[in-house]
């Protein structure tokens, strides 16, 4: 199915800078005359509130139920937001798409092929970017952001029983996630970008991989 618009996917673990870079990309596209819309996990009208307010309960569910709830959430955004906007010529930026919901269940023993089948009818990305960073860098960002106490059991992979310390569990869990993201990213020919550099440098790299896709839609700020 071809759309007038484009779908740009940005994937990667928490605290890697995904949301910041999705916003920067969106701002730059808008400045260049392109209408944008950001979708992401747990943001649907249908499921967003429930997923956010019942996070702990959802983390307790088995991987199949959780996968189906996140699939419902994404399908709701695709049908009600992404598809109509893509048809209208928007650039839709997905701040996480189908990779995160698959990888984080796969590392917990979930069946990746089955999870992928739940997304069989979703639009293919026109460009996909996987952001990655070392586990310690992610942890440093959390500490500097004074959010260490908010680090939760699931997001630290404590349920995998890697360590009894939440920080060292986090480091080991993020190491596994990073490997999986890189593997999956390469497989789907995504652009892998480390976020250890400055925000501008990372943004420029993202722009380099997005630009070819939106080239003929751009209306430069300074005119022609």
């Amino acid at each position: 199915m071809t759309h007038a618009g484009k779908l740009i996917v940005i994937e990667g673990p928490d605290h890697v800078g995904r949301t910041l870079h999705a916003r920067l990309l969106s701002a730059r596209l808008k400045a260049n005359g392109i209408a944008t819309h950001i979708i992401g996990l747990a943001r649907s009208e249908l499921m967003g509130e429930i997923v956010k307010s019942r996070t702990a309960d959802i983390h307790q569910l088995n991987w199949r139920t959780r996968s189906l709830l996140y699939a419902t959430d994404l399908h709701d955004q695709i049908k009600h937001e992404a598809e109509p906007l893509l048809d209208a010529g928007f650039v839709v930026i997905a701040d996480r798409y189908t990779l995160t919901p698959r990888i984080r269940e796969e590392v917990r023993g979930g069946d990746g092929d089955w999870i992928e089948s739940l997304y069989a009818n979703t639009p293919d990305p026109d460009a996909m970017i996987v952001l990655h960073a070392g586990p310690r860098r992610l942890l440093n960002r959390i500490m500097f952001g004074e959010r260490l106490e908010a680090l939760n059991h699931f997001e630290s992979g404590m349920d995998l029983a890697l360590s009894t310390s939440i920080t060292s569990s986090f480091l080991q869990y993020q190491k596994i996630l990073r490997q999986e993201f890189q593997k999956a990213g390469k497989k789907s020919s995504a652009t892998l970008i480390p976020t250890r550099h400055t925000v501008e440098e990372v943004h420029d790299k993202i722009w380099d991989s997005v630009r070819p896709v939106v080239e003929n839609m751009l209306q430069p700020i300074d005119g022609n």
């Binding site: 189906l68 709830l69 419902t72 069989a120």
Partner: protein, 245 residues
């Protein structure tokens, strides 16, 4: 993997009487002292919340309707159904994946998609399809009800603006898919016309014909009695031989 336990499903249109019969089947097996568990479609707590919201706001579309009901089923599958089968028990499912095939299929979700989503749910050892003429089930549901619910009537599909007419169209499609499943041998047709007792007698006959209970461990009578006692008020006097000591 060895197939553990006995999995029974009942299917049929709203108003076919299948829930009444499934409960009677449950009480019959329970009266035999067998470890039996009964579970209903769309009853998992956390998922139900989301489904309710989607229905109230009329936001659910065929694909999200499909996914969210699968989430409910997956939750019950891992928390209730599979664990009981695992220990050799009997599970009665009031609606199973064939309901998704019938309802989501009527909403044009491709059959392959539905099969794949529910691929973790094995074929039951017996699936009874409670077959009543569409008119009969229609009357049972529509009679005495001022209005039908939006999704129940299939109003989301926009076939017609009249809920009762829409319901009839929807049930017609559902019935067609069930008939196809019968032809494919996935579900067994059971004549569901007649009194509750008549139908229950047919249910038991069909059950006996298809299911061998010899491998199911009966719960000891002492445990059943102890369980009953633990849930009742104890009149000590009657236990102490009447002298209260």
């Amino acid at each position: 993997m060895a197939k553990n336990g006995i999995l029974i499903a009942v299917e049929g249109m709203d108003g076919s009487g299948k829930s009444t019969q499934a409960k009677l089947l449950y009480h019959w097996l329970r009266a035999k002292g067998l470890p039996v568990f009964h579970t209903e479609w769309n009853s998992s707590k956390i998922v139900k919340e989301a489904t309710k919201k989607g229905k109230n706001t009329q936001r659910l579309l065929p694909m999200t309707f499909h996914m969210i009901h699968a989430a409910d089923f997956a939750d019950r599958w891992t928390q209730q159904i599979e664990p009981v089968l695992e220990i050799g028990g009997i599970v009665i499912c009031d609606r199973y994946k064939y309901t998704a095939m019938a309802r989501d299929g009527s909403r044009d979700v491709p059959r392959e998609v539905i099969e794949e989503t529910y691929s973790f749910a094995r074929e039951p050892d017996l699936t009874l399809y409670f077959d009543v003429p569409v008119d009969v089930s229609f009357d049972r549901i529509a009679k005495g009800r001022p209005r039908l619910k939006f999704y129940e009537a299939g109003m989301d599909m926009g076939w017609t603006t009249d809920p009762f007419e829409s319901y009839r169209i929807f049930q017609g499609k559902v019935s067609e898919i069930y008939s196809r499943l019968v032809e494919e041998g996935r579900i067994i047709r059971l004549d569901a016309e007649g009194t509750v007792a008549e139908v229950q007698s047919r249910v038991r006959t069909t059950f006996d014909k298809h299911i061998d209970l010899s491998s199911v461990q009966v719960i000891d009578q002492s445990d059943r009695l102890a369980q009953n006692l633990s849930e009742s008020d104890i009149d000590w006097l009657s236990y102490s031989g009447g002298d209260g000591k």
